[in-house]
Symmetry: C3
């Protein structure tokens, strides 16, 4: 299985045409930047976490993105409730296990959420995917200390255990499922210096999964678009500040020409 510039463009155009509503229960740090990324790409984001409304919001969304970056007990309850509704409606659920391995609270919550919700896609950095699989690893905060390729075996094990697509992001992104493995090689070295670009990658998985039920490809398309937009953004960036802003512009500008020129197959 593979992806190409035509398949990427096809999904981008579907997102722009349909503006799928992506329901995010995400962390405080990235709410603004991930909403802006989804809007710039052409999706319609909504951030809602209150227990009395998550079920209804998940009931009108095209995809549900759950990110445990700044979790607390009340939010966890809402995450489970939203996931249950999304499962009933058979809309894709994307989970971002931010900081798994840094605390037992995160590791336990992420695994319980994944077990209960049967996600379509799990997206994390190398350390997170390894910690999610091998539960006794301790990681350093939310930044990865492992290269993405070190986590491939863990990703395979998770894909098998939970019957889902596992997306490891890093210098090379690996999209792993029981059926396939896709590598995406776009991106720029300065991207990890912008907070929450990993969370943005997860949110974009939501937008792509909303319009493409082949979740291997949806995740790979999302990673390709992240990487291409990152490369576009870096061309005129003086540092992580301008990179973050240019990245949003790039998602908005992204055209067939950009994809064809920059997609690194």
């Amino acid at each position: 299985m593979t992806i190409n510039s035509e398949s990427i463009l096809n999904d981008v155009e579907k997102i722009r045409k349909n503006a799928p509503l992506v329901h995010n229960i995400t962390n405080y740090v990235v709410m603004n930047t991930t909403a802006n990324a989804l809007l710039a790409l052409g999706a319609s984001p909504v951030m809602a976490h209150a227990l009395p409304e998550v079920e209804e919001m998940a009931g009108i969304a095209w995809a549900l993105v759950i990110n445990i970056g700044t979790l607390s007990d009340a939010w966890i309850e809402a995450m489970f409730k939203a996931a249950k509704k999304a499962t009933i409606r058979q809309i894709p659920i994307i989970i971002d296990p931010v900081g798994v391995g840094a605390t037992q609270y995160r590791t336990r919550t992420a695994r319980e959420l994944i077990q209960a919700s049967a996600p379509s896609i799990i997206r994390g950095n190398g350390s997170e995917i390894m910690a999610l699989c091998e539960q006794d690893i301790t990681t350093k905060g939310v930044d990865s200390t492992s290269a993405s390729d070190q986590a491939i075996d863990s990703a395979r094990a998770l894909a098998l255990e939970f019957d889902c697509v596992v997306c490891i992001t890093g210098k090379i992104d690996y999209i792993v499922s029981q059926e396939a493995m896709i590598q995406v090689k776009n991106g720029h070295a300065m991207m990890p210096r912008v907070t929450g670009l990993g969370c943005t990658a997860t949110a974009l998985c939501g937008a792509f999964a909303a319009v493409n039920q082949d979740f291997d490809k949806a995740a790979a398309h999302a990673m390709a678009v992240m990487g291409i937009a990152g490369e576009m953004a870096a061309q005129n960036a003086q540092g992580p500040g301008t990179l973050q802003i240019n990245f949003i512009d790039s998602l908005y500008q992204l055209s067939e020409t950009h994809i064809k020129e920059l997609f690194n197959d």
Copy 2:
């Protein structure tokens, strides 16, 4: 009733001179960007939502802005408490019913807040104003699916029911009250692609209402400044990322010349 470049400038100068403290109980997505917009214009924002302190904070503020974008039960209680104090002190209350119609929780909360607090100004997009009036409409998340002019009848009904100014934002902004209707035609097509510019419009209503007790005009001035700053920002924007940043710069730079040249009466 109408507004003109002199009346806009007059209020802007009052804000810059007095730096009115605007107390915001608002959503997580826009806290940073609305605080920056208020600061750039010349007001003094404070974000505070804790039950033990909202009364005291509303007790020193010049205006109270309540935005239900990411509400939860604990925050709702604080919103009511702050609104009560603001009512006693007769400072303007501005309400933004974000996402009303998307969930019953939002619709019910927004209507109860409005009933209890007798706001000076309600600001929403077309879908939100219609859903607030006709309570059985379902809207799509937080983005409007209706043009602002479709909501004029609903705005009139709300203005009558709650004796307040209703501000519908969209391609044309309509400021509706029992006495008048003002149209504001400034703005730029890319603005809806930046998350939370609607929330910023509401926050600016707070700053203008803090210095101008004629709330029709205060709301219209705020919308004119939003639109003018948006047009200034778009001149050098490559997408929604740079638009968001330039918009803050434009609020800071905004001069008599900009207002006179760009105000679209």
Copy 3:
């Protein structure tokens, strides 16, 4: 005691080499911007406030930053728990008493936190430091209404009472302890128009204290870097929007040449 461009550079290089994990329990308004500032400088930020995990997170961090900008009861409990762990581990604790004096809730919480946690550094603006010391002052929201030099006596009293370094930021920054007073004169007049740059100053104190146990100097180095990066950022800023973005770029670019040319001793 004094600092110079070599001592500043030395700490910056230590941060870049070690990427110390800085655990922040901070306010919603600045989570994104302070995480980006820490990342741009070379530190590794983590934002975590949940009661079940703060102890574990403080258990792997190099420094703990507590900021009461948008506090609530649940978060206060987590702040105390994290501070207790940090005290046991003898890692530096930095406290930012945002808005102290605006409400009794903030004043009381800040003083109780300081008493319980024995912080290494307290950083605030003039009004906040005065209100923290003279508890019956009422301030205006979160923006300072006092020049930093008006707060020197209060800072001295606090430094004596709590045996810590007190850092007053303003046009001139004063780093006050029982042993010394250091003045830092870098910075730019537009910086107070960007929300949360004070909170960023506090977060950077965390990064510097993580690599330098001489907390007078750590705080002074942090303030010098804030000021230098602010001056670099202002060179091409059209307003507070671009200033905020350029500031992040400047922390990333900051070199020996910048420090030597711009440090104002």
